[in-house]
């Protein structure tokens, strides 16, 4: 009987979880397995928040930018979205040019 039970447990994909200092072996739900790891916001990398077209780029490599400066205009859904930096620094990379189409979450500009 005990052997049987053990076999059954092995078949189940038991994984570890620690709650209030105790470790338990248990099944994960799909939702738990697929949860997104937390990534702290990095304001030095500017990504497109929506797919669209780059209309204007106001900065070039090695420019000094200050918090509040306009970086570029991303047109999406007939709206011109001004992307403004909230950090100051030197522009490390400009990866897009006016007229270029971008998808969502594409890296546009990097600031040092």
């Amino acid at each position: 009987m005990k052997m049987k039970k053990k076999k059954k447990e092995e078949k189940l994909d038991l994984q570890s979880i620690t709650v209030l200092g105790e470790e338990y072996m248990t099944l994960y739900t799909n939702k738990y397995k697929n949860r997104k790891p937390f990534v702290p916001a990095n304001h030095k990398k500017i990504y497109s928040f929506i797919p669209g077209t780059i209309r204007e780029v106001f900065v070039k490599k090695d420019d000094q930018v200050n918090a509040g400066d306009k970086l570029l205009i991303l047109e999406a859904m007939k709206m011109n979205n001004e992307l403004i930096t909230i950090v100051s620094g030197k522009v490390k990379k400009v990866l897009v040019t006016p007229g270029q189409m971008v998808s969502k979450n594409e890296l546009l500009i990097e600031i040092e």
Partner: protein
């Protein structure tokens, strides 16, 4: 004209209306594996019990040449009938007529049958299969939805409301099911979303199929919008019929009682099911089956937040609601989804006079950034609220661990459970022995010449002293420590003795639960 002629004329008119969208449309409906609206009603209700109303209602569209069109019954079938002999009101949208689109009169038919259900104080079943608002009728179709939502809300907690999604249910239409008590979905047939794949594609450039966006599985497993999942429409109707045996007609009644049946103790043996080591997983549904009548348990939200189990069963023929932590899944923790799921179930049972039995075996709340950011504080509070507010008989059995905030939330003595029973294996403590010993004896452990050994010793000491039900029992937080095999008997007694329970809450317009 003779009565016979008049009757003949009526029959002819009826025939015209009963054909729905016509042969071609019906063929198309069947090709997608779906039944027609009337077939569905007939399959669900007791034979010969369905009586239809408003068959001759005509649509009210005037613009865009709509006045030249005839839409039989305006795309929805409404009526009354019985399910297992229980009276119900029902409506079913007819996709074969203008895609089941909701116009002014279509909505009028639905709200009329809803008002009927409220007056007669009988359950309402809504079968959704509709392309959405009838654009040609403009703001009138929006008004229609609004009138339905309002009635869903007012009827909430007065009569049971059941939504069956048997086709598309998109845009505003989804909010009627969301406001009702139980949502049934069928694999590959049900589709629910606010904005469809096409809009998502154009606006966000994200590609997703209808099934992956809002199919039956998605809503059963991920969003929790659906409470029951079936492989076919017929299986779905069986589920609905079964659910009706556990719930009353309205909030002034109790659910019907059934003949007493003993649990199948030969199949569900506690000794085999239940590991005493509090770290070992097991399926808590087997414990429920070892306790309840005929070992028959109807699980609600089976696929969603499986770390807590909720559902209906009977004890001595009387309907009860079970809420149980599931050590097999995520160690049975409380988290955003499981708190939400259990809180809703508790509120349903409380509204409809169904006693609550809570089985406790949980390590606490799930730690994690995703949980904190998803609002585990706000969602977790729902369960505290629901249990505290509930005045139906509340019986709690602590099986093993009941640690930390989780202990409080699972219908503890402090949230005014009527009976708190504990098995001798119960461990009621602020946290597990290892965690607690590491904190309390931190200095002693680190100052010891052999910290590992000291740690082990201290954990053992703590276990000995606190990992049991007797500390809580000494304060009266546990009413009785019981032999596990006597659980059914204790619960039966508790239900019997609280048959006349009446507990008042202060008068108020309504509380403000954290939702």
């Amino acid at each position: 004209m003779s009565l016979r002629r008049k009757t003949f004329e009526l029959k002819k008119r009826m025939q015209g209306a009963l054909q729905g969208g016509g042969e071609k449309a019906i063929e198309k409906q069947k090709a997608t594996g779906k039944m027609t609206a009337r077939e569905r009603i007939l399959a669900m209700l007791d034979q010969g019990s369905f009586h239809e109303y408003d068959l001759f209602v005509e649509h009210a569209g005037k613009d865009f040449d709509m006045d030249k069109k005839y839409l039989p019954g305006d795309g929805v079938v409404t009526g009354t009938g019985t399910v297992n002999g229980y009276p119900i009101c029902i409506y079913a949208q007819d996709f074969t007529v203008a895609g089941g689109s909701l116009g002014f009169m279509h909505a009028k038919k639905i709200t009329k049958i809803m008002d009927h259900a409220m007056k007669l104080k009988v359950p309402l079943i809504g079968i959704n299969d509709s392309g959405g608002a009838r654009i040609q009728e403009g703001v009138n179709s929006l008004a229609g939805y609004g009138e339905i939502f309002f009635r869903n809300t007012i009827a909430s907690g007065v009569i049971p409301q059941i939504s069956v999604i048997l086709g598309p249910c998109a845009g505003g239409a989804v909010y009627s099911p969301a406001l009702t008590d139980f949502v049934f979905v069928v694999d590959k047939i049900s589709k629910m979303f606010i904005t469809g794949p096409e809009v998502i594609k154009t606006v966000l450039g994200e590609d997703i199929s209808m099934e992956d966006l809002g199919g039956a599985l998605v809503h059963s497993e991920i969003t929790g919008n659906a409470h029951f999942f079936a492989e076919s429409e017929l299986e779905c109707f069986e589920q609905i019929k079964k659910l009706f045996t556990y719930i009353p007609w309205n909030n002034t009644k109790k659910a019907e009682s059934f003949p007493i049946k003993q649990p199948k103790n030969k199949v569900y043996k506690l000794d085999d099911i239940f590991p005493t080591n509090s770290k070992k997983p097991y399926d808590v549904r087997l414990i429920i089956k070892a306790i309840c009548d005929d070992s028959d348990f109807l699980e609600v939200h089976e696929r969603f937040a499986a770390n807590i189990v909720v559902g209906f069963a009977r004890m001595n023929g009387q309907s009860v609601g079970f809420v149980a932590n599931q050590p097999m899944v995520l160690a049975g923790v409380l988290d955003v989804d499981s708190s939400d799921k259990a809180a809703r179930f508790v509120r349903f049972c409380d509204a409809f006079n169904i006693p609550l039995i809570t089985l406790v075996d949980l390590p606490g709340y799930l730690p994690g950034i995703d949980q904190e950011h998803a609002g585990v504080i706000r969602h977790g509070a729902k369960l505290l609220y629901a249990y505290s507010e509930a005045t139906v008989p509340k019986i709690t059995v602590i099986l093993r661990k009941a640690y930390g905030g989780g202990y409080i939330a699972m219908c503890s003595n402090h949230l005014k459970a009527d009976f708190v029973l504990a098995w001798p294996t119960a461990e009621i403590a602020v946290m597990g022995p290892e965690g607690a010993a590491n904190i309390i004896f931190r200095n002693e452990i680190s100052n010891s010449p052999n910290p590992e050994e000291a740690r082990k010793k201290k954990i053992e000491e703590y276990k000995e002293k606190f990992a049991n039900p007797y500390v809580a029992a000494a304060y009266g937080y546990v009413d009785a420590v019981i032999e596990p095999l006597k659980t059914r008997e204790f619960i039966l007694h508790a239900i019997e003795i609280s048959a006349q329970k009446k507990e008042d809450r202060p008068m108020k317009k309504h509380g403000i639960p954290p939702f």
